[in-house]
Symmetry: C2
Subunit: 411 residues, 2 copies
């Protein structure tokens, strides 16, 4: 049996609200992109919280900030709890922040009860989970997986990365040497908002994450011919817009018919030359798709590329396909999922097993230690938006469930 203890919900609420005020956008959201002034202010505030609590403050070469509680064997492995304090531009106040505040509160709760566990505990704020600069930067570094390549062509641009690192007092060498030794981690656990509507729709308190989806991105370029849009008949055109439009509709149909557990997004198109009076010569399509299952992931990839080519052929267009990279689907540890189920039953919380459609730092750590994630409901599924909201009792349920899981795994 695990001890019948609960987190201090009022203390967590005060901390959550103080944090939400840093970089607040006035509409319920926060603007704390990685290494922005507001992000660094949130980290400074987190450090003060840790030090005032009597926990040990740590920061590594990748800028990951953490609270350490030596409640286990000296020099022994830790269970890492965490999430991130950075946000997307004009994002919500729950994404990442809730997980860090819950982790901190769990360390405070264990600390004030003076519990002795099989593991030490560490509550971490990972650097750049949202990928303003690199994407899962801090967790990749901590897992020893960050490469010079990752830093050389960051998705946010090299100049912006270097400028941000300077502001945060970080170096490339430090980042590349932030890997934790094998055996130093007993597990990684994260509480996060769902960012979807499934828990709300099913009326469940807790989502036990079965896997983090794989994400694959492409740039598909339909290539036609620029012609005068007045003097060229409809029949004579090789209009790149037609291929891009037809693919967008075909991809959706394909997913809804054959891949019910997957999603696809055409998030952007760029038209060239892009004038009212010129038939589009080229349309670049930003394509992304996700699957929780490795075999489906490959099948979906083939089906989408086939559909893309079919639409190009149909309208007499060329098709250039640039693979922009993939993260494979990442199953969560089954023993951790069992502990989560037991914890929910202990606490009389309703739960359901589901895949995470979003990427998370746990992906980086999956090879290093057992990884697990818990979700709490997102009202209306809103995410990466100031409309993002989770009712406070749900946040408390999530934190208490996480505490029980820690105690199960560490007692």
């Amino acid at each position: 049996m695990t001890p019948d203890i609960r987190i201090n919900a009022d203390r967590m609420h005060r901390a959550f609200d103080e944090l939400a005020a840093i970089g607040a956008t006035g509409d319920g959201g926060v603007d704390r992109p990685t290494f922005s002034e507001a992000h660094l202010a949130a980290r400074a505030w987190f450090r003060r919280q840790i030090e005032q609590s009597g926990l040990i403050f740590r920061v590594d070469g990748a800028g990951n900030h953490s609270a350490f509680l030596p409640c286990g064997p000296e020099g022994g492995p830790s269970i890492l709890l965490g999430s991130h304090l950075d946000s997307v531009p004009r994002g919500g106040r729950f994404d990442g922040a809730l997980g860090v505040m819950a982790a901190l509160e769990i360390l405070r709760t264990v600390q004030e009860r003076d519990l002795r566990l099989k593991f030490n505990l560490e509550a971490m704020d990972f650097t750049d989970e949202e990928g303003t600069l690199v994407g899962l930067l801090g967790s990749s570094a901590l897992a020893g997986r960050l490469t010079q390549e990752n830093l050389r062509e960051p998705r946010g641009g090299r100049d912006r990365l270097l400028e941000g690192m300077q502001r945060a007092g970080l170096t490339e060498l430090g980042m590349l040497n932030s890997g934790r030794p094998a055996g130093s981690l007993g597990g990684y656990l994260e509480l996060h908002i769902e960012q979807g509507k499934r828990l709300e729709r099913l009326g469940r308190n807790i989502g036990i994450v079965s896997a983090i989806v794989g994400i694959w991105s492409y740039r598909l370029s339909y290539v036609g011919r620029a012609d005068h849009a007045g003097s060229t008949t409809m029949q004579d055109r090789r209009d790149a817009a037609l291929g891009a439009a037809a693919f967008t509709l075909a991809a959706r149909q394909l997913l809804m018919r054959d891949f019910p557990d997957c999603v696809v997004n055409v998030g952007r198109m760029e038209f060239a030359p892009g004038a009212f009076n010129i038939v589009p010569a080229r349309v670049d399509v930003s394509l992304e798709f996700r699957s929780p299952d490795a075999a489906e992931f490959e099948k979906l990839n083939k089906a989408l590329l086939t559909a893309a080519k079919e639409q190009a052929d149909r309208y007499g267009l060329g098709l250039d396909t640039a693979d922009l990279g993939r993260h494979d689907p990442c199953p969560m540890d089954s023993a951790v999922q069992q502990a989560m189920t037991a914890a929910c039953e202990d606490l009389a919380l309703s739960y359901v097993s589901l895949a995470s459609g979003a990427g998370h730092d746990g992906q980086s750590l999956a090879g290093l230690c057992p990884v697990g994630m818990l979700f709490v409901p997102s009202v209306d599924g809103a995410s990466h938006s100031p409309r993002e909201y989770t009712a406070w009792p749900d946040c408390v349920n999530g934190a208490n469930a996480l505490l029980q899981i820690v105690l199960r795994l560490a007692s």
Copy 2:
């Protein structure tokens, strides 16, 4: 009977080639956007040609450059011949330039024969036909139709317009006061390349333009909701891309089925927020359509707006519709078309009546005097491109036809 005279094809060829070297891009094209260095150099060259020919050089407050030949009654009306020396960025060497060179050659031919006609002749290079800054700027000014409004929000941007005007030594006041008095023009005639494939496909020498199409532009904005592209199911999305894509395909179908003489173009889409991992909240569609017939123009407008709304409803999206303005279809003068037919028959040139899918300066002048246009074949229909090409014998045919028409109308 009109005199059995012909233009000097060699002289016109030399002039055409000299002009094509100004702003040449090395791939057969020219880059002479309005008031660029190359454009002003072409105008200076045109002035020298006029003065060396013993023709009278004129320039008005809108920068329209012309050669004047007093071959008719002193102080009497003129037949205006012309086109433009500006090009689209990296355009072709025939569009506009051929019409100005043919007009100049006709004045030289009439001058060296010392013909006395019922009208004086003027060969004009209009300012900014291509609309780098305003669109039909010079011809609108000459027709007394240019407004302060036109200059206040030019499509090329106000700063660029003012900067160009300064370079060309022009003022707003001068532009707004360049209108020709009523009765000063006996007609306006223009030779132009077809910019389409119809003459080539039909194997005809000359296109007699029946009308210049009307052009109507809209910005259609499909409005959905930005959601996380990983954690939002396909069913839960309000994806603005779907409306934009479905409309693009529906518009094409509608045109090909019900409006065979019209064309439609979706030349650009802009996605917001425009990220791989966010469901598009808004897609702005640049829509333009054209019709040679006023009644069809209105019918097509209604049909397209209905289709736009249908696709919005189908995908649960909002639709904002911004009317960006229209130019009505402009029928060519019927007496001028009859003179063109007769001239082609005199010269044993095959011909066909067709609408111009592109806009031209004649539209501006249609209320002021009888207007007519002749087309010569464009190889492969290429236009606004360095690939633009018309075989030299076709250019000569066009210039000789234009000369015969002038003689018919002015004898």
